[in-house]
Amino acid sequence: MKARPVNLLGRVYLGLVLVFLYVPILVMAAMSFNSSQFYMLPIDWSFDWYVKLAHNDRLLEAARNSILVALVTTVIASVLGTAASIAFFRYDFRFKKVLQAALFPPIAIPWLITGTAMLLFFFWSGIGRGLHAMILGHVALALPYVIIVVSARIKGFDPDLEAAARSLGASPWQVIRHVTLPYLAPGFIAGALFAFAVSFDQFVISYFLSVPGVSTLPVEIYTAIKKGFTPEINAISTIVIVFSITLLVIVSRFYRFGGDR
């Protein structure tokens, strides 16, 4: 079947939008393999900047911090978020709507405001800045995502499945192990991956809560950009973006974006 001209036009347009979305990222990735400092063309392919990166202790240290903060954030946000999701599913209570609405501010308020407010409060109250403060902040940002994703999964759970398992002779523990947990697992995994991605890519909050010498990868990259371009940033940025995209492709296997189709 031949596409009608209008459809063809639409496809070309969609292609152009994708070019707009991906070209800068691809350019950056290509430049990370160009040995020329000044981005000369044609590209002189090499791994020079990646080799240099391997010896940049500051960036490597920041990368380690990023992963550490993201892992701790994932564990805390997953546990707290799943517990809250279960409460929302299992019980009806007076403040449920209020609590659910309270998930909105961490997502909706510009990070600049939450970030500066955290800086000011943590500094003033003695909590201080540093990795522990970043974890505090990242968990707050990741929690709403975890609760939304896990709740979406729980909502589809048919209570009759638990009833059926019990009628077949399963003890309460066997019901949880063989029926409830296997059903919830994809939602739980998607929530955890979301939490990791939110934390790993978070810049604004980390920026305000970092102290010199203790920062995460995005903060370190920002500092480097402000100081002036060095192609090493291209290399580390390419690694980060490939990592994030891989992570999100994995998430999409567990969680359908944009509702069911």
């Binding site: 499945l161 059926a164 009628s167 002779g169 296997p182």
Partner: protein, 351 residues
């Protein structure tokens, strides 16, 4: 196998009285249908027998043993749910094997018995499919196999056929009946579909507003309903309201109907007559002496292939008459016709 005895069970949720003083004896190996509209308490009763909730008062015995303190998983009952509740993450085999697995049955025996059960429901070879790869009818068979594979004492069915379309439903009715006979398990079946209740079960209990109105064989219930509700909920019925006079029912226009037995009481009475018992007769037809005769005006004829329904009016009463499409007369709307039926088919009912 075991019988189930429900005695004087009551249950309420807040202000809602779901069951009030219900007593039923479910015979060992019998197929009993609990029939009623939604909210009648039939599902509540089933869930009490299963053990998902407990009666406020009264007692339930399974196989002679009081089960008040026995949790669901220890009652050894098989249950089929309305939406089948198949575990979506497990294959057909694992679904059916579940009841055996939690009973720590040896692996080899599980294999053999699941195979048998799948053969019984004619799903051999479907072991590795996931529930979402099955049709509605196939899911239903898996649910049935899962509920009987561990040889429970009682099989509970919660509207198991309601999610199927009509053609599949008729096929499954036959299957269900065959399997129940082969296994010989005491079966309690909840439904709001009177046809299902009549064709499948050997005993039917009609529930309404948490009370058991009447129980008996399908035939007894159909031929001798005791209440107007039972008469209309189980099949179609024409209801005649009148006053009992000299053992007969006198209608408002003076027509007198004779009943099965002369009416003992006096005062306002209702009688029910099944639409297929009434015939449209020629004016000149010779009628037997125990016939009731009534004049009515034809309003509409509904043609349904093998049968016809006539909608008629007698005074304020709407009437319905079924006729086989054999020698049905070609009647015009507005035409006055003569109806006749046997007085033995005129059943006094409680309004």
């Amino acid at each position: 196998m075991a019988s189930v005895t429900v005695s004087h069970v009551s249950k309420s949720f807040g202000d809602f009285q779901a069951l009030s003083d219900v007593s039923i004896e479910f015979a060992d190996g019998g197929f009993y249908a609990l029939l009623g509209p939604s909210g009648s308490g039939k599902t509540t009763l089933l869930r009490q027998i299963a053990g998902f909730s407990f009666p406020d008062s009264g007692e339930i015995r399974i196989g002679g043993e009081a089960v008040e303190s026995v949790p669901v998983e220890k009652r050894n009952i098989g249950m089929m749910f309305q939406n089948y509740a198949l575990f979506p993450n497990m294959s057909v085999f694992d679904n059916v094997a579940f009841g055996l697995m939690v009973r720590d049955t040896p692996r080899s025996e599980i294999k053999a018995r699941v195979g048998e059960a799948l053969e019984l429901v004619r799903l051999s070879g479907y072991d590795e499919r996931k529930p979402h790869q099955l049709s509605g009818g196939q899911r239903q068979r898996v649910a049935l196999a899962r509920a009987i594979v561990f040889r429970p004492q009682v099989l509970l069915l919660d509207e198991p056929l309601s999610a199927l379309d009509k053609a599949l439903r008729l096929g499954m009715q036959v299957e269900l009946k065959r399997i129940q006979r082969e296994v010989g398990i005491t079966t309690i079946f909840v439904t709001h579909d009177q046809e299902e209740a009549l064709t499948l079960s050997d005993k039917v209990g009609v529930l309404k507003d948490g009370k058991l109105l009447q129980e008996g064989t399908p035939r007894e219930l159909y031929e001798r309903p005791r209440t107007a509700f039972a008469a209309t909920f189980l099949g179609d019925a024409n209801l005649f309201n009148g006053i009992a006079d000299d053992g007969e029912l006198a209608l408002a226009d003076g027509t007198r109907l004779r009943t099965l037995e002369p009416l003992a009481r006096s005062g306002r009475m209702t009688c029910a007559v099944r639409p297929e018992k009434i015939a449209i007769v020629e004016d000149s037809a010779q009628l037997s002496s125990d016939s009731n005769v009534l004049e009515a005006e034809l309003e509409q004829t509904i043609f349904a292939g093998n049968s016809l329904s006539y909608l008629l009016r007698h005074g304020d009463t709407s009437l319905r008459v079924f006729a086989q499409n054999r020698a049905a007369a070609d009647l015009q709307p507005g035409q006055r016709v003569r109806l006749a039926w046997c007085s033995a088919d005129t059943i006094p009912v409680e309004a």
